[in-house]
């Protein structure tokens, strides 16, 4: 049976100390992550690193940098798929790209890109729409290991079938196979797509805006933040977006609970694509 979250009253206290310690020692700020799911992941990390309490885990995290590196996959969640949630990608292709076509140059920011599937998906779509050569995609994340995977553009072949289905449902114009070569059990995506993607380290919790962009795509990242951090992140997107720029978020996320609700208009309600006022 899955590790049960104990109702130990000190758990939250120790968790706060752990997050504070991680921030002071490693400058990674998880202090405003949504607690309910973080508790579960920290409980799993305690099992993984053989610690009976969060305080024991803190001891190891502070004194063994490799334990901290291993902890990143518990602080953050890496779930991604190419063309995940195909109606979203179809909407970007059919409704947003025609407007982006009117610009001389287009910058896109995939915030919290994890292992890169969404950034590669957008590159393929922009390529098919003839826009990639005058586009730049910033793909950012806080997890260096995830970023390395993202940059490599190598995904297990057994994931390709579902990626292909998504690609077609998202309005793909060719076959996904046009964009990768199979080698052993992996699919290696075309390096020419990568020329237009800049992978880099960026934290929505502690960093600032680095460029003006026309489209921000940040899906299923905000659900891991509390309201305060969510507001900070949406503020960054707002500041980064050019006037009338687009913001796409996850299908169960909303700007309704953030102070920026009036700074955006709903562009496509169902697909959760907003437009800066």
């Amino acid at each position: 049976m899955d590790a049960q979250v104990t109702v130990d009253p000190d758990f939250d206290l120790e968790l706060r100390l752990l997050l504070e310690g991680v921030y002071l020692k490693y400058q990674h700020d998880f202090r405003h992550y949504a607690l309910a799911s973080l508790r579960r992941r920290i409980t799993q990390a305690m099992t993984r690193f053989n610690c009976a309490t969060v305080s024991q885990l803190q001891d190891r995290v502070l004194h063994e940098p490799e334990v901290f590196a291993g902890m990143l996959q518990y602080f953050t969640v890496q779930v991604s798929e190419m063309f995940r949630d195909p109606p979203y990608f179809r909407a970007i292709r059919e409704k947003v790209v025609p407007i982006l076509q009117t610009y001389p140059f287009v910058k896109v920011w995939v915030a919290g890109c994890s292992t890169g599937e969404e950034a590669w998906s957008l590159a393929i779509m922009l390529q098919e729409e003839g826009l990639l050569s005058r586009s730049l995609i910033y793909a950012t994340d806080i997890n260096p290991e995830a970023l390395r995977t993202a940059e490599a553009g190598v995904y297990a072949l057994d994931r390709i079938a579902s990626f292909s289905t998504n690609y077609l449902n998202a309005g793909g114009k060719a076959s996904l196979a046009e964009y990768y070569t199979a080698a052993y059990s992996n699919a290696i995506f075309d390096k020419r797509l990568k020329a237009q993607i800049a992978f880099s380290d960026h934290s929505l919790a502690t960093d600032t805006v680095f460029s003006e962009v026309e489209l921000v795509s940040c899906r299923n990242v905000l659900i891991y933040f509390d309201r305060e951090l969510q507001a900070r992140a949406i503020g960054l997107f707002h500041d980064a977006l050019a006037p009338r720029g687009f913001l796409g978020i996850g299908s169960r996320e909303s700007l309704r609970f953030s102070p920026y609700v009036d700074a955006f208009t709903e562009f496509l309600r169902e697909e959760r694509i907003y437009r800066k006022q």
Binding site: M1, D2, Q4, V5, V7, A34, L35, A36, S37, R39, R40, R41, V77, V79, N220, L222, I223, Y224, D226, R227, Q230, G250, S251, R252, E253, S254, R256, F257
Partner: protein
């Protein structure tokens, strides 16, 4: 005063259902009277990647508002929230909803255990957990968390359930305050209209 005579003050009800659960859930939700006070949070196992029709299905029959949970939404009284397909549904300390795409738990996302654990923390003794028909073990650990935090547990009588595995596992692992056929459970639930009741 024995625990059986204690006054209950139920703020929220969490419900877990799987195989055979649509029917059981229908009986429960149909029986809720208008003005029912406690909030209801529901995990029903479903195949991922399909738009959820649950809110339409149950919303047409239920006297209370039925919604699919939205991240960071404040939990309102007398409202039924369903976990969206492919997301875990959790309760945060401030009684707001949270979603996550953490790994499936026991092959399930949404997971009943994940909802129950987080709700147990947020509501403590003001929580009632219901485990209905299902063909797996999800909900057993979560129901134990609810009871450990002082909340109450009702389980559908396994012989009365279309799939008995899940209610039987919950009873074996967590025990229950009441084990009931679904119609009796619906009737008792309706009596919790104000959230306050004597005994279980």
């Amino acid at each position: 005063m024995s625990p059986a005579e204690a006054v209950l003050n139920i703020e929220a009800i969490v419900i877990g259902a799987s195989a055979g659960g649509v029917e059981a859930l229908g009986v429960l939700l149909d029986g809720l009277p208008a003005g029912f006070q406690p909030s209801l949070l529901v995990v029903l196992h479903l195949p991922p990647h399909r738009p959820s029709l649950l809110t339409k299905l149950f919303g047409a029959r239920c006297r209370l508002p039925v919604r699919e949970a939205m991240d960071k939404e404040k939990i309102e009284r007398g409202t039924v929230y369903f976990a969206p397909p492919d997301y875990h549904l959790l309760v945060e300390g401030g009684k707001t909803l949270a979603l996550s795409q953490d790994a499936p738990v026991q092959f399930s996302r949404p997971s009943i255990d994940v909802l129950f654990d987080s709700a147990a923390r947020a509501y403590g003794p003001a929580l009632l957990g219901l485990v209905l028909s299902g063909a797996n073990n999800d909900g057993a650990a979560g129901l134990a968390s609810i009871r450990a935090a002082g909340g109450r547990a009702w389980v559908q009588e396994p012989e009365n359930a279309m799939s008995s595995t899940m209610p039987a596992a919950a009873i074996a692992h967590a025990g229950a305050d009441l084990i009931l056929p679904i119609r009796d459970m619906a009737e008792r639930l309706a009596h919790l209209r104000s959230g306050r009741a004597f005994a279980i």
